[in-house]
């Protein structure tokens, strides 16, 4: 049903009747990558790699070019030295504390609901912390998710100190023997210094209860976001040491190509993808599948 015109069809068109990769094909490739939000510099990097490969291997046909492209893009994604995660499962730490951050409306709260569901299905006991005490009805929203997936939600009144909610949540997770605690935070634009400092504080407060917490700081990115996602990644990482990414709304026509440059530049792995609004619509990121979906 998707209306995306695929890589393959475009490149095939440009390759018709040719035995080598010429400028027209590379132009086509540039268009395809840029319109997937891969960004100019990352696109140029990919094209340079392709050109080098082509110069080395001499003869290249469409299917070979496709294979090379996939390999090179996957290689860029793999440069953060991560292998894909295979389970919604966490070993060593108990409670394993996840703090979820990102700009406004990207899908943080929804991702938390869906992740809680996956973790619970995998046999973990999960508690959620309603540390967005700012946005209208944010606490109601996460409470409803808690009901929907059957996990506890620790909350205070709207307007209360988010760090205090985070503190309570982690404490409650320890007392209750929960396996995972997930802390929601209010959406904030990365250029707002006071709000970014607040995140640092929320993070530090949790360490007082569980040293080393939060173990996972998950930055949620919207697949329809363009090049600004790079700046989001830079600023949130600076404030909170982001160590995992979630890419949401991949069920739409946006391809989320910006994560290729991000994972290359910041060495932070994409861990989850959101593919819908329903409880089951969260998947573990798979490099090969992601790259394949670009080619579809």
């Amino acid at each position: 049903e998707k209306t995306k015109e695929g890589f393959l069809s475009k490149i095939t068109k440009a390759m018709v009747g040719k035995s080598t990769v010429d400028d027209q094909v590379l132009d086509e490739l540039e268009e395809v990558l840029v319109t997937s939000d891969v960004g100019v510099s990352t696109t140029l990097k990919i094209i340079e790699r392709i050109q080098a490969r082509v110069a080395r291997d001499k003869y290249v046909n469409t299917s070979e070019l496709n294979a090379i492209l996939r390999e090179e893009i996957q290689a860029l994604l793999a440069e953060n030295n991560s292998s894909d995660f295979e389970h919604f499962e966490y070993g060593e730490h108990k409670p394993y504390v996840i703090m979820v951050v990102g700009v406004n409306g990207v899908g943080k709260t929804t991702t938390i609901g869906k992740l809680a569901h996956q973790l619970k299905e995998a046999g973990n006991s999960v508690v959620l912390g309603a540390a967005d005490t700012f946005r209208a009805a944010a606490v109601d929203q996460i409470r409803l998710w808690g009901e929907r997936v059957g996990v506890r939600v620790v909350a205070q009144a709207m307007g209360s100190d988010p760090a205090s909610v985070a503190f309570d949540t982690v404490k409650s997770a320890v007392a209750n023997g929960d396996d995972v605690a997930i802390i929601d935070t209010a959406g904030r634009l990365h250029n707002k210094v006071a709000l970014m400092n607040e995140l640092t504080k929320i993070k530090q407060v949790m360490q007082k209860v569980v040293p080393g917490a939060p173990h996972e700081i998950l930055l949620v990115l919207d697949a329809s976001t363009g090049q600004n996602a790079i700046e989001q990644c830079r600023q949130f990482t600076q404030a909170t040491d982001v160590n995992a990414l979630a890419l949401t709304k991949l069920d739409g026509t946006a391809k989320g190509g910006v994560v290729i440059g991000i994972s290359d530049q910041f060495k932070i792995p994409v861990k989850y993808i959101g593919v819908g609004e329903k409880v089951g619509d969260l998947q573990l990121f798979n490099k090969k599948e992601f790259v394949d979906s670009l080619f579809k």
Binding site: T3, S36, D37, K249, G252
Partner: protein
């Protein structure tokens, strides 16, 4: 990102500096850099190409007066072109009907509900209207509560039906309520939806059919990338919207999506969102947006140094 752009243009303008008139050769490198800068600003690929071609055509063969450099001339051409593309002056809402029905539509999380609240406040305080908000999102958890909280903040009543799962019925009942109780503007908030979600797109078409809105506002996140064209086009094909709203411009995005929307569907952008609070709403100014996309601050300072 800004530094990056500055460096690029710096390099580009260096090529032109000290050359008397604009030729194919001395403009090519600059155009390439400008196109890259536009793409980094999330301007649509095709739009960026067409724009640089246009600027190049205008620039070619022009004699550069001794008083200005080729860089200055190019900057002026670029600024004029972009401002023209962004559509002259600000476009207001048509509020002549009573009640005026305004339907709010867009992708998930774009800022529709927040904008609905802001618009209600704006119409009440700046236009002397008596608005009614209608809670037409029956899907997102706590969507109705969210609008109710905002309604309270701006002191505008909210029509809601927590029992109903039928957005078409709710919207219709909301408009009827407005007529009966003498509200002269009805703002219908709707659930976020993807342009390719057939069922939900049919649903919002039916809401339009049932309420015959006078204004349909398409709400877009200013940080949107290349997909902005697809989404704007599909929503416009289905709804024939009367204007767009660009949200989250308080961030540091250059907002190239604005240009894409304007050039692809040729509908005016009517408002911009500049914050989470209810007063963070501005009417759209094409010239300001043009300089933001171009990073005019940077460009002007470059020209001054040239």
């Amino acid at each position: 990102m800004f530094q990056n752009l500055q460096d690029k243009l710096d390099r580009a303008f260096k090529v032109l500096k000290g050359q008397g008139n604009i030729t194919e050769i001395n403009v090519a490198e600059t155009m390439k850099e400008i196109r890259k800068a536009l793409l980094d600003a999330d301007v649509n690929y095709k739009t960026a190409k067409a724009f640089t071609d246009e600027v190049k055509q205008k620039a070619l063969g022009q004699n550069v007066l001794t008083s200005i450099s080729p860089g200055q001339l190019l900057t002026k051409i670029m600024n004029d072109e972009l401002t023209a593309l962004m559509g002259g002056s600000a476009t207001e809402l048509d509020l002549s009907k009573s009640p005026t029905v305004i339907l709010i539509a867009g992708l998930n999380g774009a800022g529709k509900t927040t904008f609905s609240g802001k618009l209600a406040k704006f119409l009440k305080e700046k236009k002397g209207k008596k608005p009614l908000l209608v809670a037409g999102d029956v899907y997102r958890p706590a969507a109705i509560d969210q609008l109710q909280v905002l309604g309270q903040q701006v002191d505008v009543p909210v029509y809601a039906d927590t029992e109903s799962k039928d957005p078409i019925g709710i919207a219709k009942a909301g408009v009827a309520e407005a007529k009966q109780k003498g509200y002269n503007v009805v703002i219908v908030d709707t659930a976020g939806r993807l342009a390719i979600d057939e069922a939900l797109m049919n649903e919002i078409s039916a809401v339009k059919e049932a309420t015959q809105p006078h204004e349909i506002l398409f709400v877009v996140d200013a940080m949107t990338g290349q997909d902005a064209v697809n989404t704007a086009k599909t929503f416009n094909d289905r709804l024939d919207f009367t204007g767009a709203v660009l949200t989250k411009l308080d961030g540091d995005t250059r907002g190239g999506a604005a240009l894409s929307i304007k050039s692809v569907v040729n509908k005016p952008i009517k408002f911009i969102g500049t914050g989470e609070k209810m007063e963070a709403l501005d009417v759209f100014h094409p010239d300001r947006m043009a300089s933001r996309i171009l990073g005019m601050g940077d460009v002007v300072s470059l020209v001054e140094r040239a």
